[in-house]
């Protein structure tokens, strides 16, 4: 068989070409060259902050050699982009911020170590909202990312660069991070698959913290199967992350292809109605019908504390963020102001120059809710509400195998449409934020398009560590559309 050259590749997913890679019909070097070219062609989209051209080709040669020697890893030849808040030794990790503009990491994140040893080839670092604070990728110091399906629109955020890069086929998959919807919402806006695993399922070591009790790394992919394969590689206990779960990782591919006959899918009524784009409601209704026809039981349920989720989230996440971002002080690394006559001025000026408006807003908010005299009224009360929201889900999973909701109240909106109205912007995470408060797993899977042909992603959730259930239903929905 003739070896395929880069330009011949019209690849849809990693799983599709994996056998050709292993049988060496496609070499990793050719594949990598192809994707590096696509990345270069797509520069206008601004999905990438760093391009690893040389490094990626070197990695590709090594993976080719490993395949030749019969040592192919589970993800040999996976062309992967990495969100710029996940660190790799010797590479920049800007987090989309000016304050880390010159920061080069002295160590590598656990997920990267695992992916590289499985044969993944990292082609670059993706653009993102500054410190993952945003829902549109418009807060990045490195400029907005354009949605590949409509350059006038946002790709979603904060993992906007990752979702756009995958959707535009500039890589086979990307890592994102999800604190309140930052994987699922951009996946939905760009028409790709994105999972927020159970809190503790994936090591956070090397993920630059935003909201430590919310953050999870997850894959953004072109297929559910690719997604399951990547999570398989990165999930599992890490002794360097005390909050990672010391639990066995099931085989995520076994439930793929299983039907949905007999499973119970809950429909939380609080996730529908007012504020939801009608096209999305229509897609949801069609999907429900599809699932019922396949033998699933659809069960209307209530998650009564949902209305408090956004307020609760912004109290807790900003409290954690205000503390997590204190290390950016200009002392050891990152931006240091040239205009400072005293230590205090150095702090104030470095941080004022280094952080963007949204980050400053959240630091202020978080510092406020933690300050003496306000802690009980805000932070402590919010912790109690978090428990109530979490209990809502646990109660739902007593009778449901998974829950189905929209991922976002709208499809991708126009660049600039919401930048002047932070509250309006915060509401675009209304369906994703409760999941992070509860720590449960959720996936966004493309289920249709709106009247402007923009993708609509639906969200599936399951009880903690039941990623196999959401992969099963997501895979069913994906196959049903093909």
């Amino acid at each position: 068989m003739r070896e395929k050259s880069g330009s011949d590749l019209a690849v849809n997913s990693y799983s599709e070409i994996r056998n050709e890679i292993l049988s060496r019909n496609i070499t990793c070097t050719a594949l990598t060259a192809h994707y590096l070219e696509k990345m270069d062609e797509g520069r206008d989209m601004n999905a990438f902050i760093s391009f690893f051209s040389v490094h990626a080709m070197q990695q590709a040669e090594q993976v080719d050699l490993a395949i030749q020697n019969g040592n192919a890893g589970a993800l040999a030849g996976l062309i992967l982009a990495v969100k710029d808040n996940i660190v790799i030794e010797g590479q920049k990790a800007t987090c989309g911020s000016n304050i880390l503009n010159n920061f080069v990491s002295p160590y590598t994140a656990t997920v990267i170590e695992r992916l590289e040893s499985a044969g993944a080839i990292i082609v670059g670092k993706t653009n993102m909202d500054e410190f993952a604070m945003g829902s549109s990728n418009e807060t990045s110091h490195y400029g907005v990312v354009r949605n590949p399906l409509d350059p006038e629109r946002v790709p979603g955020g904060s993992s906007g660069g990752s979702a756009a890069a995958v959707a535009a086929n500039m890589c086979l998959a990307a890592l994102g991070s999800d604190t309140g919807g930052s994987i699922r919402q951009p996946a939905s806006f760009c028409g790709v698959v994105g999972i927020k695993p159970t809190y503790g399922r994936v090591s956070r070591y090397g993920l630059v913290a935003y909201g430590s009790s919310f953050d999870q790394i997850g894959p953004i992919t072109r297929s559910v199967e690719d997604n399951a394969r990547i999570l398989q590689c990165i999930a599992g206990f890490d002794e360097r992350d005390s909050t990672s779960a010391d639990m066995p990782v099931p085989d995520y591919t076994t439930t793929l292809g299983q039907d949905v006959n007999g499973i119970t899918i809950g429909l939380p009524k609080e996730y529908m109605g007012e504020g939801l784009q009608p096209d999305i409601q229509a897609t949801l209704d069609e999907t429900i019908q599809l699932l019922e026809q396949a033998g699933a039981t659809i069960k209307p349920i209530s998650l009564p504390h949902t209305e408090y989720a956004i307020a609760d989230y912004y109290i807790l996440v900003t409290a954690e963020a205000s503390s997590n971002l204190e290390r950016y002080d200009g002392v050891r690394y990152g931006h240091r102001s040239r205009e400072a006559a005293s230590l205090e001025e150095m702090y104030v000026n470095s941080r004022s120059e280094g952080f963007g408006a949204e980050v400053k807003r959240r630091i202020m908010l978080g510092s406020y809710v933690l300050s003496a005299g306000y802690y009980d009224a805000y932070y402590r009360k919010a912790q109690k509400v978090r428990r109530l929201i979490s209990n809502d889900f646990h109660k739902a999973f007593e009778t449901c195998d998974c829950l189905l909701t929209p991922t976002a109240p709208s499809t991708a909106f126009k660049i600039g449409e919401k930048t002047d109205d932070p509250l309006h912007m915060y509401l675009s995470d209304i369906y994703t934020v409760p999941i992070n408060l509860a720590g449960i797993p959720a996936i966004a899977v493309p289920c249709g398009t709106d009247n402007q042909n923009l993708p609509i992603g639906l969200q599936l959730m399951a009880k903690p560590f039941d990623e196999p259930m959401i992969y099963r239903v997501a895979h069913f929905l994906e196959q049903a559309q093909r």
Binding site: Y205, S367, Y375
Partner: protein
């Protein structure tokens, strides 16, 4: 008006774990600057802390030793503030739900028993060291050494139960002794492995309401703590008796000038915004673990002092001196195991042994005469084989030799002569050689006994048994 002093102490003790509290860097003291550092203790973006279990064990040890309640679940919190030697911008400490609470330490101050209650003991990480105004630092520069970042500490907080500077001193000494017995902190205030801040207020005697307190920092010796508190009590008394009001403030003790200086108010206007650290899971302590730690605890200083008084019938002073450190107490017991006369052993250790350690700046662990050898020496005295005086020279010999006391005595022929037939001749010779003295003695100058004994000892190179010599000499002189 008579005033009562009210003092509460906050003591930071650096723990002797081999690694830091949240990473695997060495926590040893004195390494080259900025060599004990890794991404975690440098606060690099994306790093996470992992708790060193040894720190929890040590904190529980101290809690048990000070009669605390050990929490089955405790949590870490972040204390947020900016300083160049604090890489993360927050210190990981404990705030709500500390590991130990409700403890107490009993002490005796000038003969009076006193109970000092402990509010809490909690675990935390140390910050780095800012270095200003050293030879190698320019006057407008501050350098930071991060080696100390993440060194494990316990903070011990007392209730305001201490009533005098002396009491603070005694309490601190007792606390240090406990830390050292447990081998969890070397307790060196000069090097900063033990640090003490004091909250001081005064109030009219009989009042139950606390007065306005000042916080004293920067004392770097036990004596400094006592002196600083003395100074502050006088300062507050002066203010109040002259009609003024004590300001709540933080004061730095200046050991050279023997006075306090207030910290600029700006530096103390902190709101630390404590909240539970989401990067660490709660510390769950199973009852079995506590029991295992308890079972492994050494006898504590107070109990040992008491036992030395009862079991060995030692005076209080001896018991206190011998139990000052665990190693000396162990040494004493190892010697006393072979000797009936514990007081004789005590005298030798408090005298010759401690003096030698002091002079040679040695730890007892490095003392060249091990307990068996010292027991051999004391045994020879107890059995009248050698006199105390000869024993001192044997002791000196033993410091530089590995021979036993018996071997040295044998080799040098130092065995005490108690045999009267041997001594008869010597005594007769001395009497014969000094007729004048004999005459004066008989005339009533009894203090000449000393002269005769001295001559006899000289003639026997000190080996004559003084008791036998005395007896024989008296018999012979009185017969003349």
């Amino acid at each position: 008006m008579e005033f009562e002093t009210v003092i509460g102490l906050e003591i930071h003790a650096q723990l002797l774990t081999s690694t830091k509290i949240f990473c695997t860097c060495s926590s040893s003291f004195g390494a080259e600057q900025n060599t004990h550092a890794c991404p975690v203790c440098l606060g690099m973006p994306g790093v996470l802390p992992v708790l060193n279990k040894k720190v929890v064990e040590y904190a529980i040890k101290m809690g048990l030793a000070t009669n605390c309640k050990i929490a089955s679940r405790s949590i870490f919190a972040r204390k947020n503030y900016f300083y160049p030697d604090l890489p993360k911008g927050y210190q990981i400490s404990q705030f709500e739900e500390p590991i130990c609470e409700y403890g107490h330490v009993d002490i005796i101050v000038e003969g009076e028993p006193r109970r000092i209650r402990l509010t809490r003991i909690h675990m935390e990480e140390d910050a780095g060291k800012s270095i200003h105004a050293e030879e190698f630092v320019a006057s407008d520069e501050t350098l930071v050494d991060v080696n100390r970042c993440g060194t494990p500490l316990i903070e011990i907080v007392t209730e305001p139960d201490i009533r005098s500077p002396r009491e603070a001193f005694v309490f601190l000494n007792e606390l240090r002794q406990i830390l050292r017995y447990l081998n969890i902190c070397d307790g060196n205030m000069e090097e900063g492995s033990l640090r003490c801040d004091a909250n001081i207020s005064i109030r009219p005697k009989g009042d139950t309401k606390l007065g306005t307190k000042a916080e004293l920092k920067n004392m770097n010796s036990f004596r400094g703590v006592e002196k600083a508190i003395e100074y502050e009590v006088l300062r507050q008394t002066d203010i109040i008796t002259s009609g003024g009001k004590v300001q709540q403030q933080t004061l730095l003790w200046d050991d050279k000038r023997m006075e306090v200086q207030p910290i600029r108010s700006k530096e103390m206007a902190h709101d630390y915004r404590y909240f539970p650290d989401p990067d660490l899971v709660p510390v769950d302590v199973a009852p079995e673990w506590i029991e295992a730690i308890r079972a492994d605890m050494p006898e504590l200083p107070a109990a040992r002092r008491e036992r030395f008084r009862t079991q060995f019938k030692l005076p209080e002073y001896d018991a206190a001196v011998l139990t000052e450190t665990k190693d000396v107490a162990d040494y004493f017991e190892a010697v006393a195991a072979h000797i009936d006369d514990a007081k004789l052993v005590s005298n030798w250790i408090m005298g010759e042994v401690l003096r030698t350690l002091n002079e040679q700046k040695l730890d007892i662990a490095d003392f060249p005469i091990n307990p068996q050898r010292l027991a051999g020496l004391v045994d020879l005295i107890q059995k009248s084989v050698i006199s105390g005086k000869i024993a001192k020279s044997v002791f000196t010999e033993m410091l530089t030799s590995t021979d036993s006391a018996q071997q040295i005595v044998d080799a040098k022929g130092l065995t005490q002569v108690s045999d009267s037939s041997e001594l008869d001749q010597v005594i007769n010779d001395i009497i014969t050689a000094n007729p004048d003295a004999v005459e004066r003695f008989k005339a009533g100058e009894t203090k000449l006994t000393g002269f005769f004994v001295g001559q006899i000892m000289k003639a026997t190179q000190g080996k004559a048994n003084p008791k036998v010599v005395n007896q024989l000499l008296m018999e012979k002189l009185n017969k003349k």
